[in-house]
Symmetry: C2
């Protein structure tokens, strides 16, 4: 029988695995944590919840759940060009078995350590499995990359490849498993583009992370900036696995699949080479996929410049 | 049929109800929020989750759920003597009906406005109902009230009355409802002792909010401070409704009932009159209920000084 933990044992089990960090005055174990913000920095705060069976397949390994719960939040900070510093973890589980928790922490803390992020507090509760992480980053005043800062004529770029996680999810839905390791990793272990987000300070105008699908997320930039976006369908980056699909299926995944956690950003045409250099320095693939235009909305252009029509609109929670 | 909202409509519906606050650079609607910490202040961060049916009865009105989700978090900041400034809200619901959301926000925002707290971001997801709030406060360096700062000989104090919320919950468990309005309010609309927590800066040594029951929470102070605590059973403050109960039932609720959200704190004997003055200034009842002693653990003393034995240990999540 699995070892069951009381709430306080559980918190202690988490605390034992954490290291010290100079800017953490008081970590896990009090009513709240105390941290020291950097002087002259703004504080960037994002929160994302993952619900079992909604945001990840119920069979997902605990370590992957831990990784992903943190990754999606670091991705939000990356899209703001913020440097991640602290996170809190609110973990709800039907039961608190030690083995699951240890595995969860393996994934969560591996990513936290890689980014120098301290887990400073949280809550553990009993209930249907869900994880809410709140992530805190810092950014110098006016250097954050906002959705509403795109400018007419900007190039639109995206990191990595699009649609892999959605393809993995499709495999899982059809067969109950994901045999392709690359695709499984893209779904379960997304890579938040933190270093590249920081490198885009002073280069990019607007940025967002692609979590709901490119169309939906590029749409947020367009709407917030009161502009439009034209995407070149043939320019959308793809993995070899996606390239093997028929083009309609492939483009559906690239445009409307969720869970990519790549950065989509706009930058002046004159800074294209700086974008490329930053990407090389960060070992991140980056692709120019379109441009910011005057007419509202998102248009997807085919190879001859014709406007393609798409019915899919990206993944929406609470879709009616 | 109830009006159903998409995620973006839902976020927009929340955003429309929020005012501006000078230290909020960018609120709801981007990947993350941007706020400006006060210079020379430490940042205090607490997170608490409420799960439907675990932390509140399933029949609880949406407005009460909203109030309580914020109140329990402000209570954590109060126990640190931190001034609340911003909160994020991660809301998970099986469906997103507009009427429920509006009622939830009525309760949540009424309390937020009362404390000058800005809702700056969050997440809305589909799943079993649960709410995670992360609250941010500020405190000058070294003025936070920590659990580990009690000193030998300190008086132990508590605000308000104890056991009312637990009695309300008992009524609900036995009859499916709570007819007594005062008790219902104590369960559903707890009052975070924010102003009094701030007033305790420089007076109290250690503080905690009473959420899991006095024995458990005073036990946290004792353990963290490597000391013990003696409680006077007859000194524990009670409402008229609790006073009407047989003493054993009453003391069980006062000592082990959860959800009080009162502050329990230790202060030097010489500062008793300052504690009283601060309480009067804040219009908060305060009662001296024991003292900090050398021998580890919590002892409850009867009227003749005899040690009472208690089996209840307060409410614990994941209790095995």
């Amino acid at each position: 029988m699995a070892e069951q933990l009381g709430e306080f044992d559980l918190i202690e089990r988490i605390r034992r695995r954490l290291g010290a960090q100079a800017d953490v005055v008081l970590g896990i174990g009090d009513d709240a944590a105390i941290v020291t913000p950097l002087p002259d920095r703004q504080l960037v705060v994002g929160t994302d919840t993952l619900v079992k069976g909604v945001h990840y397949p119920v069979e997902t390994a605990a370590a992957d759940v831990g990784w992903k719960a943190l990754a999606v939040n670091l991705s939000d900070l990356a899209a703001m060009a913020a440097r991640p510093r602290w996170v809190t973890l609110a973990l709800t589980r039907p039961e608190a078995d030690a083995a699951w928790l240890d595995d969860f922490l393996d994934g969560f803390l591996a990513l936290a350590v890689a980014h120098g992020v301290a887990l400073v507090g949280g809550d553990t509760t009993r209930g249907p499995e869900g994880i809410t992480v709140t992530a805190f980053g810092s950014v110098p005043a006016d250097q954050a990359l906002r959705r509403d800062a795109a400018r007419l004529g900007d190039d639109l770029w995206v990191t990595g490849t699009l649609g892999d996680a959605a393809l993995a999810l499709q495999h899982w839905r059809e067969t109950g498993r994901i045999e392709n390791d690359m695709l499984a990793a893209r779904l379960n272990r997304p890579t938040p583009r933190v270093a590249f987000g920081l490198a885009l300070r002073g280069i990019a105008h607007a940025a967002i992370d692609v979590s709901d699908g490119l169309l939906a997320d590029a749409g947020h930039i367009a709407r917030a900036s009161s502009l439009g976006i034209e995407l070149q369908a043939d320019a959308l980056p793809m993995s070899d696995d996606l390239a093997a699909l028929p083009s309609l299926a492939r483009q559906g995944l690239q445009l409307a699949g969720g869970d990519d956690y790549e950065l989509c950003f706009s930058a002046p045409v004159a800074k294209a080479s700086q974008v490329q250099s930053a990407a090389e320095a960060c070992d991140v693939r980056v692709t120019r996929i379109g441009r910011v235009v005057d007419s509202a909305g998102i248009r997807v252009l085919g190879p001859g410049g014709q406007v393609l029509s798409l019915s899919e609109q990206g993944y929406r929670h609470f879709a009616s």
